[in-house]
């Protein structure tokens, strides 16, 4: 083996490395192939060029939607995805002032308040805001606009309950009843948005003094905790497409339509049902990011998300409900989805102020 490099040479190597790094990076900058849209950092002023939507990884606009938007506005859309809904909001907070895009899509009741406190948005009053169900408009300053809403509810395996001759549980309290022992799957609220929504439902029902006792009851009754929705629904739940062995799961009021989608003719009953009294409301919002390169384009995109074309596509693309009142629903949704009349709903501020503490207390009670 040869001797050690003299010190000076090593310094030179480090300097050269730094220089090369700069060159490499510079040469990678605008190397996008033609079909990837323009390189970033090249967004021109005014409503032309591209709008970058920052969203969780479930959000996308298909080619027809993009074409429609481009025809209307002359703008192309890029969707920058950043993991799950909470993660995306946290990334936006981390990059506040130098945002990753122009529009943020996918805030929900649980993350809304933190995002507003971090001054992430500039106000934009959407064109069709007056046609949106007023119960869903949570910010008077219109920094965020509701786009879709759903309900997180306990779903049950209807076929299993029928074959056992057992009635599905009637409400939250029933889930702690020994008659339903070892049947329920929930998501960990620390890592799952429906999991957190269900936790808030229990707080809304049993209050700050009673919700932990309730969970203790669920724990004694053999509740199973999954990491996220897919894990709960597909690998632990027995109903519908689930591969697991538990007949009760925390899912959405709009999950049953998906179980019969594409069947011809539609059956009388879906294989899964919803316990309506357990539902908690979840609204998804979008907002124009402060410091956006293309704020006008961002505003146009939010208007587009409230257009009939997009609103009508929501049920069968995202399996949630549109927010514009009177939007026509597909038959399968009309028949099998549950849009609860009186869902649990906590104030976003209350959720924001207490979320971390609730999760910690929940973790101590249920997992330890």
């Amino acid at each position: 083996m040869s001797t050690r490099a003299p010190f000076r040479r090593r310094r030179a190597a480090v300097a050269a490395a730094a220089l090369a790094a700069t060159l490499v990076a510079a040469s990678c900058g605008g190397d996008d192939s033609a079909d990837e849209g323009p390189a970033d950092g090249a967004a021109p002023d005014g409503p032309s060029g591209e709008v970058v939507v920052v969203a969780h990884d479930s959000f996308d606009l298909d080619d027809d939607m993009r074409a429609a938007f481009e025809e209307e506005t002359g703008l192309t859309v890029t969707v920058q995805q950043g993991g799950d809904a909470v993660s995306v909001v946290n990334q936006a907070i981390l990059t506040a002032g130098d945002p990753l895009g122009d529009v943020l899509f996918g805030l929900d009741d649980a993350t809304l308040s933190r995002a507003l406190d971090a001054d992430l948005f500039v106000p934009h009053e959407a064109e069709r805001l007056d046609e949106v169900d007023p119960a869903l408009v949570l910010d008077d300053e219109h920094r965020v606009t509701p786009i879709d809403h759903g309900a997180v509810c306990v779903n049950y395996d209807a076929e299993w309950f029928a074959s056992e001759g057992l009635e599905p549980p009637a409400d939250l309290a029933a889930l702690a009843d020994p008659a339903y022992a070892d049947m329920l799957v929930v998501q960990n609220p620390a890592s799952s948005s429906p999991g957190l929504a269900f936790l808030t439902a229990s707080v809304a029902e049993f209050g700050e003094d009673g919700w932990l006792d309730y969970w203790q009851g669920l724990e004694d009754n053999g509740v199973d905790v999954a990491a996220d929705w897919s894990d709960a629904y597909y690998t632990r739940f027995s109903g519908g497409a689930g591969e697991g062995d538990r007949p009760l799961v925390v899912s959405y009021g709009s999950s049953p339509p998906a179980e019969v989608l594409g069947l011809d003719p539609l059956p009388e009953e879906a294989p899964t049902g919803v316990v309506e009294s357990t539902c908690v409301r979840q609204i998804e919002f979008a907002g124009v990011l402060a410091g956006a390169e293309n704020p006008e384009g961002a505003a146009l995109l939010i208007d587009f998300l409230l257009s009939d074309r997009f609103q009508e596509s929501i049920p069968l693309t995202y399996f949630v409900h549109p927010v514009i009142e009177g939007t026509e629903l597909p038959e399968v949704f009309e028949r099998f989805a549950v849009d609860p009349d009186d869902p649990y709903q906590l104030e976003p501020e209350v959720v924001a102020d207490n979320r971390d503490r609730w999760i910690d207390e929940w973790t101590d009670a249920v997992l330890r």
Binding site: A13, A21, L94, A227
Partner: protein
Amino acid sequence: MGPVGAAVLSLPPLVFLAVFFAVPVGAILLTGLRPDGSWALGALVEVLGDGALRGVVWFTLWQAVLSTVLTLAVGVPVAYALTRFDFPGRRVVHAALLVPFVLPTVVVAVAFIVTLGSGLRGTLVAILVAHVFFNVAVVVRVVGGLLEKLDPRMEDAAATLGAGRWRTALHVVLPLARPAIVSAAGVVFLFTFTSFGVVLLLGGPEHATLEVEIHRQTTQLLDLPVAAALSLLQLAIVAGLLAVGTGRQQALAVAQPIAGDAASVRRPRGVGERSFLAAALALAGALVGVPLALLVLRSFRAPDGGLGLQWYRALVDPEASVLGRPALDAVRHSLEFAVAATVVAVVVGLAAAVVVTRGPRRWARALDVVLLLPLGVSAVTVGFGFLISLDDPPLDLRGSWWLIPMAQALVAVPFVVRVLVPVLSSIDDRVREAAAVLGASPARVWREVDLPLVGRAVGVAAGFAFAVSLGEFGATVFIARAETVTVPVAILRLLGRPGPSNFGQAMALSTILMVMTTVSLLVISRLRPGGTR
């Protein structure tokens, strides 16, 4: 190699690591440690003094050690069987063993639940089995890469002297393969030490590792001071263990005559050899084959219980699919990213491996450890680091197409290095010296002596890098774009929606991903210089 040569060859790996690893990770750690521009180390003290954390660290460590030992126990015999005995479909088995690498953990969780039922879920056994499932290919590739280079005359000589197959394997082959075994063990340990999806989905919420905790603190709570403290702790443990490990590895390297042509692969003879081969294949088949086969079966299962192609049809039917874009686009994007990442990883990794094996000793050891660090750092730390550090010229890469293959290459480079280093360090220096005495320049020695010998190993490394790139979705999850959605992300999106159609399409797409991976690996193994085996 002289210091100048070492410095020049070190440039590509150092530049690459600086831009895509050191800068982003440094940025996110600093954000946590200096939240308001001044050092705030309170969180560090608090985290390190936390009693609950000790339990997490301890569990993280010992499950990784146990997983590594088990993976070696399965992987080494399989590697031996695949490099010594010929049987129909040998190359397909070799390629298919890498398939677990590209599957999203949730798909693997489905496969395991279908295979084993839900009884094992949430137990340590489930975590260990899944870790072996994912990592056995690492051992097969790294150890196999060296085994197939061993000069067959060594084993022939032992046989001539009266040693049977078993004795030869234990006393000749195993000692010679030791550097590769240690090398593979290092990677498997890092992989299982920073395991995220497996622990979360199969271990359940009561099995927390450092990685899971870092992920939660960063993505869910945005508590960067705590995340930084945890990351530093993880980094310190990993760096310490690596420094010890690479020292061991260099001490173990045995110069040996390496064959230009490969060790002899032949049909097994006799009952002993046949049953050994059968047992090794059965082991690999049970662990990797059965869960994958069940996934494939699921992709053809119609709602009425029959078999059919309806989910494949649904995938390409824009009306039936929630993907919003043709599934084949995702296949194309995945391949484009993986090819770009593989080229980068092989160039960077080859340069690094040469320095590690030929450069000045201290420099080599330091580089060896530094190159492995990306495997020991949480993907979320890297991903979030990209977002806050690569946003200003000259490093304005947020939203650039290149960021994704670079993030994938970051994970793939260590694998390339692990495959190449044992092979490179086993080349007998005397061959080189002889060439030099006869007047060959160092460059010519490399071209005429080293290159033919490592050609096949480069092929193995490239295949490895390709599979790792296809399957990387730690850091890429945070920088993905809907327009260039990759197959694993598309599968996750389908599994994020309810219903048999989405589930069936996810299984169909998983099957396409498996086939695409296996075929790509077979093609790569044909491309490698000097080898069509």
